[in-house]
Subunit: 667 residues, 2 copies
């Protein structure tokens, strides 16, 4: 018996697993980076399962926000008590897995402590500050967050309103929130959990504003945890998701902090108030690329979870007859169902491949930089911004497709989908709003187009296609003879065409508009060019990775990769049919290719999603359970409802009961 | 001052209103059906505002599910106590508005009582039953729901598992749930509120199954409200939305009900157990068409609410500079923002126009039927199924676009979006799963295509284009000279092409597959044909309605209608470029047309959304407030957070506090 088949499982799901034509365990190892990694995943899983503090008393969707916060606080202390169980340096791998298993999709009181507070200390403090604050932060003597965004200010940092005015008399900075829109707003853990924060404020000294700078600020008293004088803060209320976190607001009223609480690795203020400007740029691209590569991994993990749930459920759900009298079929047999779910499965594979690759690229670039080589840096930064944008949007859409594919039960929180969607779709907005990101990518593309026109382009592999002269027509004959190289050429054609369409429109607009207005007037076309640029990369990278897979896995992965690519092409047929680059007949070939991929993936679908190696503890979905015993589990899950604690609720006793009694008396 | 401008409003939003180039009040009247209707809306609004029982103690998003249920029970009793305030026969108009104002997007304990229980009694009882039960239901002596769907069965009614076995000895039916999958699951108000239900069960008599039939069943004891013997029921737990409703489960264990509780207008069972089959079909198309036209109105109302919020917020939110040094601009000035939000605004207008039209069509068909004229019936039924599917999906997508356009604050429940989305997206699944609906539409289209091929087609106006021979190329010259007729021809070309593509593929598949398998193998293409069919109708109907508008409104509506149509075309460019029907130059014309529409709508955007006549009480969005004073209101809203009731939470006292204290002691 395979790891995935057990006694007592739903018969349909077991049959699916039995008819899989590849070794699930080998694909798991390929996905996760080797059998050693798989082994470590399972050790971590067993450890987490063995610790009582990690167990939720009931599924968290039945907890009130107060209960969720309390439950998460217990878990996060246990999680950070036991970091010796994982390789902490492998945050991308073991760290993320450990956190997913322990905290689920709720994040926790110390999320920003680890993701933003500590890295900021590491990057922005001088040596003396580093000693003091890093020690406190790592030992968990303080819990910190990162307070930058304000109620009225997100994307545009230069307009932050919080002020830190230097007072040489006392050698202190005085923090103020001059308006309501200056309220810090959104930082995770700020409302109730943190007692410290890195606060970004406009630095004023000697009557001059020196722009936004980071300060370390104590928010709450050590022992009582009460807010310090002049500090007003709290939770910002419920959100679409991640409600186990106390995202907070923060207002300052003449709060004084020592001069040395300005983080002084770069800029400094001397005791007399003299400002010393930073010698170097304050932030390298490196951190951003790293954070975004983590996001891409995280997003792909959520999409894969959604595809796992939808695929498994569709294998046990029987509804409707295809052939009358032959009994109800598994809904996975409907072509429309496959067309909804399998492209999401394919996207998840593609995004995972990209997440790995971009992390590897980050390593290479970091290495190159130590030798002063910046060849790849700009393109990599651009790519990671674009990937973040395309991946988070496609992930959100894909999760909802998977949810809708589960019919009514997908709408229940038992499915896990509402939580997965609420968590993942946040990625479209945080860490750079998606459209803003795409327009950053477009700046690079327009520069590249300009250089190509001038013949001065020197593009790394990722953008090299922009400088190529492609063929006038696609080389596709039949989809069975469509090579990877031809497919990529066709996608590059579409991307290049859109890049130059945007470029030409921009040039034209610049003739009668100011540069900024011209840019704005073609921004929809620019964003479109950016999406194409990213999609070309995603397909190329995925096809390449699959081409290197061992034969016994490649034969199944090829269909997944083709489905991913064909889905992109047939979702934008106009880009290929335009000017006769492809004929209708060629496009029909690709459509036939999709239907063939769906049919070929069908028998392996459950094994494909199994190979992602989700344990039920991580998946947290009644519909996506490994054993397929969905219906009894749904009934059991529902018993936890807050409304089922009593047979008769006050809503009856106080309102509906008297209403009915009164009416009965008058009948 | 206009109705919408008041002292103390945000300056930016006031300026937007001042620069509007049409009379908002006149457009409101046009949208809602005349000045009399507007007057009635405002009377209803004033009444609702005057009744204390309709006031929420805090915004409902801060209530636990128990509190929400209690709050809603109070409101629904008050709502039904005061039905004399509205014209109850005008459910589509006054009824829906009154309910939206009082209950919001949470539905309520008696939703199914009014939407399903009472109509089923009216439609399915014999005269004697009608007297008894309708009196009880209308007087609110009982609260009923409609229990059809089961845990394992939704779409395919014939496979429902609940049994009602006739026992002639006692002249009773015995109800049983033979399996877990037979549990009734999802009915609104079933868990805790209702004491009666119409239960659909397989009728067995004399050892034979006669298929699913409706029975009236008492679930809870009159006085104690405790479940009756043999009945197990409860709430099914939290969902993506509508958590103020106790959707329930229900299991029967030998529950006996009198023979006369079979609803006997059509089928009957005599005392000896003889089954009398129904003489007529049990359900006319009429009810379904009516329910779906209500859904289309409801969905368009939600999308319009989302567009209102996003448009107003984008007019007060300033972020980033277009021209450096000129100050931050209203985000509504970014083309990408307009491109996200305005098409949703246009869709909402188009869907409202369709909702009105389909209700009018329903009236005509009902009238025709009294004369035995069934000419329009089938097409109307098909159209309403298709509209439900396309409108609910586009609405869900559109709401999310509006939410994302509001950046971080869109993610907060203060925005109203999470509630609007959770509520509206349910429409993709209930009242006929969207893909199932589209495939029903496709049956009609394939029949029509077959008849066209045979020369026997007799299609009403809605589908007449299928039988026409269109031109080989589009007549579009420039978008300024693109007539409505030409535009519709082009859309009809795309729709017809897809209908026949699906038809040809179906015929081809039938050559080597059984009919059912052939159908399944082309179902993706079939669904696509159905979507085109519906979209042609939506555009035609909207253009037509706008063409009849008075001049002083038409000039602004024309751009909205064009944006709607152009957005459809440019989202599927391939369908028009294929086989040279349009050239790239022609497609570029349409793209330019979009940008021109965006720019022309921009100055009227706030006035356009104002004209939908949302009061803040209905909109329930801090971001979408009439007065535009978003930021202070966000801060005030957040104070309601459950987590802000105490300065220091147990999560600190129990877990995080001791952790930090311990670490401090070791420093």
């Amino acid at each position: 018996m395979s790891r995935w088949i057990q006694e007592g499982d739903n018969v349909d799901i077991t049959n699916e697993r039995k008819k899989g034509t590849f070794d699930t365990e080998r694909l798991s190892a390929w996905i996760h980076g080797g059998t050693d990694v798989l082994k470590r995943r399972r050790e971590i899983l067993e450890f987490v399962k063995s610790v009582d503090d990690f167990k939720d008393p009931v599924p968290v969707e039945f907890l009130s926000r107060e209960e969720r916060i309390l439950n998460n606080a217990r878990k996060v202390v246990a999680m950070t008590d036991n970091t010796d169980q994982i390789d902490g340096s492998d945050f991308f791998g073991e760290g993320m897995y450990y956190q997913a298993l322990t905290m689920g999709r709720d994040l926790h009181a110390m999320s920003l402590h680890y993701v933003m507070f500590i890295p900021t200390l590491q990057g922005q403090t001088d040596d003396e500050q580093l000693d003091e604050w890093l020690t406190k932060a790592i030992s968990r003597a303080v819990v910190g967050t990162y307070a930058q965004t304000e109620l009225g200010h997100g994307t545009n940092l230069s307009k932050l309103e919080t002020t830190a005015t230097y007072d040489p008399a006392t050698e202190e900075f005085v923090l103020n929130s001059p308006t309501i829109t200056a309220a810090k707003w959104w930082p995770g853990g700020l409302g109730k959990s943190s007692n410290y924060a890195v606060v970004v404020a406009q630095l004023y000294t000697k009557g001059e504003c020196k722009g936004p700078h980071p300060f370390i600020v104590q928010l709450r008293e050590d022992d009582t945890h009460l807010p310090l004088k002049g500090i007003r803060l709290g939770d910002i209320g419920p959100k679409l998701g991640i409600n186990g976190n106390d995202n907070g607001f923060l207002l300052f009223d003449n709060v004084r902090i020592p001069r040395k609480h300005l983080l002084m690795r770069y800029a400094k203020v001397k005791p007399d108030g003299t400002y010393v400007a930073p010698a170097h740029s304050k932030l390298g691209y490196g951190t951003m690329v790293f954070v975004r590569s983590i996001m891409i991994k995280d997003q792909s993990t959520q999409l894969a979870a959604a595809a796992t749930i939808a695929t498994r459920y569709a294998s046990v759900r029987r509804q409707g007859e295809i052939t009358p009298g032959k009994g109800e079929v598994q809904i996975l047999d409907y072509q429309t169902q496959q067309f909804r779910v399998f492209p999401q499965l394919a996207r998840a594979f593609a995004f995972m491949a990209a997440a790995t690759e971009i992390r590897n690229l980050y390593m290479i670039v970091t290495e190159q930089l130590t030798h002063g080589n910046t060849e790849l840096l700009a393109e990599l930064h651009v790519l990671s911004s674009g990937l973040k944008s395309v991946v988070s949007w496609d992930t959100a859409q894909g999760i909802e497709q998977c949810r809708l594919a589960c019919g009514g039960h997908g709408y229940s929180q038992a499915s896990g989908f509402p939580e997965i969607y609420g968590y993942a779709v946040g990625g479209c907005t945080y860490e750079g709003e998606n459209l803003v990101m795409l327009l950053q990518v477009a700046r690079f593309l327009m520069r590249a187009a300009e250089e190509v026109k001038k013949g001065t382009a020197k593009l790394a592999d990722i953008g090299a296609y922009i400088g190529r002269t492609g063929a006038k027509t696609s080389r596709l004959t039949t989809h069975h003879h469509y090579t990877d190289a031809q497919l990529v050429e066709d996608l590059e054609h579409a991307a290049r065409k859109q890049v130059f369409r945007a470029y030409d429109r921009l040039k034209k607009a610049q003739q009668h508009l100011k540069p900024e207005d011209a840019w704005n007037s073609v921004s929809v076309e620019l964003a479109k060019a950016s999406r194409w640029h990213v999609r070309v990369y995603l397909v190329k990278n995925f096809l390449h990775k699959v081409s290197l897979a061992p034969q016994d896995l490649k034969f199944v992965l090829v269909d997944v990769a083709r489905l991913y690519a064909y889905d992109i092409i047939t979702s934008s047929t106009g880009a290929f049919l335009e000017d006769g680059y492809m004929t209708s007949a060629q496009m029909n070939e690709i459509k036939e290719g999709i239907y063939e991929c769906l049919a070929k993936i069908r028998p392996n679908a459950v094994s494909l999603v199994d190979s992602w190696d989700y344990d039920d503890k991580e998946l947290k979905s009644v519909l996506g359970r490994r054993d397929g015993n969905v219906y009894p589990a749904l009934l059991e899950w529902a018993q936890n409802s807050q409304l089922n604690k009593a047979d008769v609720l006050p809503s009856h006793t106080k309102y509906l009961g008297p209403m009915m009694k009164d009416a009965r008396s008058k009948l």
